[in-house]
């Protein structure tokens, strides 16, 4: 049996560009690791930092947030809002002992299926090197 660590990635993708981009990767039969679990949201601006912490709390090894390229947002500037949050989220995660490689914000357009596949492959490789994420909290000591 293959016992190599397989990271679980929660991929939160915007409906208009990145989800379509991931779809294109599938339609084009581009192979990429099955480690990413995709959640579709309307816009990367909708991704409340709570979602990211929740993913880690429930045992995700990495969180990938993807939106339209800056300037291409279906809602004009939702992805800019996501961009403003990213450095603070990274800093907060670092202070909580979560490596910055475990959270990634990327831009993938509807025509970039190959780019999406590449990003997933890269993230899987990074996370395999980092090892599994074991949340220390979340579980109460006492029932």
């Amino acid at each position: 049996m293959n016992t190599e660590f397989e990271p679980k990635i929660v991929g939160i993708l915007c409906n208009w560009c990145s989800y379509t981009g991931a779809d294109l990767a599938g339609i084009s039969r581009i192979k990429y690791s099955a480690n990413v679990r995709i959640v579709r949201v309307m816009c990367s601006g909708r991704v409340d930092p709570t979602f990211i912490l929740k993913a880690f709390q429930e045992g995700a090894d990495g969180v990938l947030v993807s939106g339209c390229h800056p300037g291409d947002c279906h809602y004009v500037d939702g992805n800019i809002k996501a961009m403003r949050r990213a450095p603070l989220i990274t800093e907060l995660l670092k202070q909580m002992g979560i490596e910055e490689e475990r959270y990634k914000l990327v831009w993938v357009s509807a025509s970039e299926g190959d780019k999406f596949a590449r990003i997933v492959e890269e993230m899987v490789a990074t996370l395999k090197k980092l090892g599994p994420f074991k949340p220390q909290g979340g579980v109460k000591k006492y029932a």
Partner: protein
């Protein structure tokens, strides 16, 4: 109406909560009329043995302040839970972990080393550290166990009501006393405070929030009328439960979050990240990074009173980051 049996107990906290109960001035007479104080180590008497001898449920109301970080505190929490009809988590430490909860940024070993070995004023050549048990000629001596994690009271025992605040303000204490006296207690699990965020009750003028620079309160002359966030001062009002009457914002100090997350907020740190990021006035990734760098110690600021209550609860031990 027969007198109620009241207990007040103190665990990992500064003692300000005990003092805040005395802050209610002449209302304290009503408490005296209403209740027999069966245990209050700070202000009255009452021995642990006396509590142990009581029947289960003999205490009508127990105000429990402080977080749980020692085995002795856990024992007392369990004992008082068993003996009390109503157990109230009183103050930020009991409700969310409070300031002692910031210890969850470190491990037990780091704390012990810092306190007993590394501080510049420490002279401990033998490297003596407290141990849970030690053998002496007379026999074995023991100390309570010091846990690696700080826990909130509701993480240890079931809690009936919450009165947040560091310390809880007088009007909330009075509201709770009145509710107990008139037997009009809210549904179990109620947080006796506001429901909305502090911003809702803050009297400052709020206009367009666009910030290019974040500053700490001592670095700036604060405008007493204008929203503190609009002045570039990190204020935890957007994510923090109201009900305190804006004690800090009223005197030009930003909200530090002692009332814990507002109703429906799962994690105050995450909500603060969202709130702060949304007021950054830039669309340039490099400039955004630069502005973000001005926020000193975001996790310590946003979780100042609630790290053990947050979603991640503590810093990961094996995280390979500085």
């Amino acid at each position: 109406m027969p007198k109620l049996n009241l207990a007040v107990y103190w665990t990992a906290a500064c003692g300000g909560c005990d003092v805040s109960i005395l802050d209610i001035d002449e209302k304290i007479l009503q408490v005296g009329e209403l209740a027999n104080i069966v245990l209050w180590p700070l202000a009255a008497d009452g021995k642990y043995e006396d509590v142990e001898k009581m029947e289960d449920g003999a205490i009508d109301v127990c105000l429990f302040n402080g977080a749980i970080r020692l085995s002795e505190q856990e024992e007392m929490a369990r004992l008082l839970r068993r003996k009390s009809k109503i157990l109230i988590a009183y103050g930020s430490c009991a409700c969310f972990g409070g300031i002692p909860g910031l210890a969850n940024f470190f491990t037990k070993e780091e704390i012990v080393d810092r306190v007993y070995k590394d501080t510049p004023s420490t002279d401990n050549a033998e490297g003596m550290v407290p141990l849970a048990t030690v053998q002496v000629p007379e026999g074995e001596l023991s100390l309570p166990e010091f846990y690696n994690d700080v826990f909130t009271l509701p993480q240890v025992v079931e809690v009936d009501y919450y009165i947040p605040g560091c310390p809880p303000p007088v009007d909330l204490i009075v509201r709770a006393i009145d509710a107990i006296a008139t037997n009009k207690l809210p549904p179990k699990g109620t947080v006796i405070a506001g429901q909305k965020a502090l911003c809702h009750e803050c009297g400052r003028v709020k206009e367009d929030k666009k910030v290019k620079e974040f500053k700490r309160p001592h670095e700036v002359e604060v405008d007493p009328e204008k929203c503190l966030l609009e002045q570039g001062i990190i204020c935890c009002g957007p994510a923090t439960r109201g009900g305190c009457g804006g004690r800090c914002t009223g005197v030009n100090m930003p909200c530090r979050g002692c009332f814990g997350p507002a109703a429906e907020v799962l994690d105050e740190g995450a909500k603060m990240v969202g709130a702060i990021a949304s007021i950054i006035d830039s669309a340039d990734p490099e400039e955004i990074k630069k502005i973000n760098k001005m926020i000193v110690d975001p996790a310590g600021t946003f979780y100042r009173f609630g790290l053990p209550n947050s979603m991640l609860r503590r810093k990961r031990k094996e995280g390979k980051v500085s």
